[in-house]
Amino acid sequence: MWWEKVLKVDPRIIYLVMILCIAIPLIKPLGLPLSIVETTKQAFEVVEALQPGSKVLMSFDYSPGGAAELDPIARALVMHFLQKNLRVYAVTSVAEGTMYAQKNMAIYADAGKIYGEDFVVLGYFAGGENAVAALSENLRSVFKSDIHGSPIDQIDMMQEVKSVRDMDLVVSVNVGPGGAATADVWVRQVAVVYRDVPVILGMTAVMTPNCMPYLQSKQIKGLLGGLRPAAEYELLLQQPGPAVAMMDAQSAAHLTILIFIVLGNIAYFATKSKDK
């Protein structure tokens, strides 16, 4: 009887328990240890191997919905690029992505880097997969000016760049189908076509299983899926930040769901045996 009530519990009670379990570790962190997994080290080493002055095409393909999970990944990567003195060409296939591109590239500006020499924000490109194919072949076919309206040929760091072939790394931090150019678009149009240019993908945790085949077949050289790799990346940089701070809350959330699953199963078997 009691277990039947458990099975039919009002979902709002579940929501309330979840809110509490997520909020409490955010206010009072537990400090659980975090190890670094191979996939994160792989992505880290790709960036680490680049020489100062190398060129990175970074696409901030996420909107406000995915920002909570993806912005820490983007931020960690930009911090690493800054440490390595890399030159960043920021683009986005999502209209709201320009805001995240500008926010994250402000890290470069705050560190004294010069716009147009060390970093440039080219802005939003419409057209999804076709536009990724077009800009990979010839950046100028998609961008005539940067986000501030300066003609592209007047920007110093654009002089030596024509296509993705001139880049040393391509990164897409991607929200998936909610955006325009999904993660597999970058695999199809960049990783497969320009095999000499390494590609790193950042994505939400839910997309990671889908993109593991690309990493295993070495079509992409790095994959950062979700908040945990962002936290691990911050630890590798020795600059713990927002991702590390959120890991305890994520642990609590997962544990809460596990408890719900166990309760649900106990209730199911209890009511099943009672029916028999």
């Binding site: 909107s63 919905g65 057209g127 929200v175 189908p177 909610g178 997309m207």
Partner: protein, 257 residues
């Protein structure tokens, strides 16, 4: 030819050839038997349930469009929409279709209007039957959640191109008591449909739907042709595994050409 794409070209030719060959065979009258897909059969059951309860049927093809986002999947959903609209029109049950992009909206309006006309119910068609919500996935999902609750939808059919909003739509529908059938080609959204829906179409079953709903020989023939293509891939994989295990690199090198 471009280096590294020769094997891809050959595989592509073989697969496309198989598809075109079986389309021609189907057009000449060859009959093909398709295995039943429970989720597709359940669509008629869901519509029947809505007729009994006197409540509306809701169908949404997701946030894709016909040009960039999930275009092949969205084309497949047009056939599903035609079938569902025709079924609802013939059974006199209220039908609501919601879309997440302008081009899908335009085509969907035409399809639903034609579906109603085909069963002689042109008078029953109104412009409110196909509603454009938003291209933003969250605005789209919250609007659908509201429609399902407000209009007391009995059958909630979500088959198409979905992203993270799938769980919001599916759970909202479940909480309001609707019978739900979900399906998407985005494999990582499938678990949410499997968890929240009564029936789920898994990946390629969404693309196969047209073959089930129509007597169009093109659709049936292409499905058979695809199966031969899959068989070719399967043979290649098995051969590759055996040869690689034996230390023979021949097939690996051939595929890289």
């Amino acid at each position: 030819m471009v280096q590294g794409r020769i094997s891809l070209f050959v595989m592509g030719l073989l697969i496309c050839g198989s598809i075109l060959l079986h389309i021609q065979k189907a057009r000449k009258g060859e009959e093909y038997q398709l295995r039943p897909i429970p989720a597709l059969d359940a669509i008629d059951e869901a519509i029947g349930r809505a007729v009994e309860m006197g409540k509306p049927v809701h169908y949404t093809p997701g946030v894709g469009n016909l040009t960039t986002r999930g275009a092949p999947t969205m084309f497949a959903t047009l056939d599903i929409l035609a079938h569902i609209a025709e079924k609802c029109a013939s059974m006199d049950v209220d039908f609501i279709a919601t879309t997440g992009s302008g081009d899908v909206q335009t085509v969907s309006e035409e399809i639903v209007r034609n579906a109603y006309a085909r069963v002689g119910k042109s008078d029953a068609y109104s412009i409110d039957k196909v509603r454009y919500l938003s291209t933003d996935q969250w605005a789209y999902a919250s609007e659908i959640a509201d429609i399902v609750k407000r209009e007391n939808v009995q059958a909630n059919l979500m088959i198409g191109y979905f992203a993270a909003e799938s769980i919001v739509i599916a759970e909202s529908g479940r909480l309001s008591g609707a019978i739900q059938i979900g399906g998407t080609t985005n494999a990582y959204q499938l678990p949410f449909f499997v968890a929240s829906c009564d029936y789920a179409l898994i990946a390629q079953e969404v693309l196969a739907a047209a073959s089930y709903f129509s007597d169009d020989p093109v659709a049936k023939g292409s499905l058979v042709g695809e199966d031969y293509g899959k068989a070719l891939c399967l043979i290649t994989i098995v051969l590759g595994v055996i040869l690689s295990t034996l230390g023979i690199d021949f097939l690996n090198q051939l595929i890289k050409k």
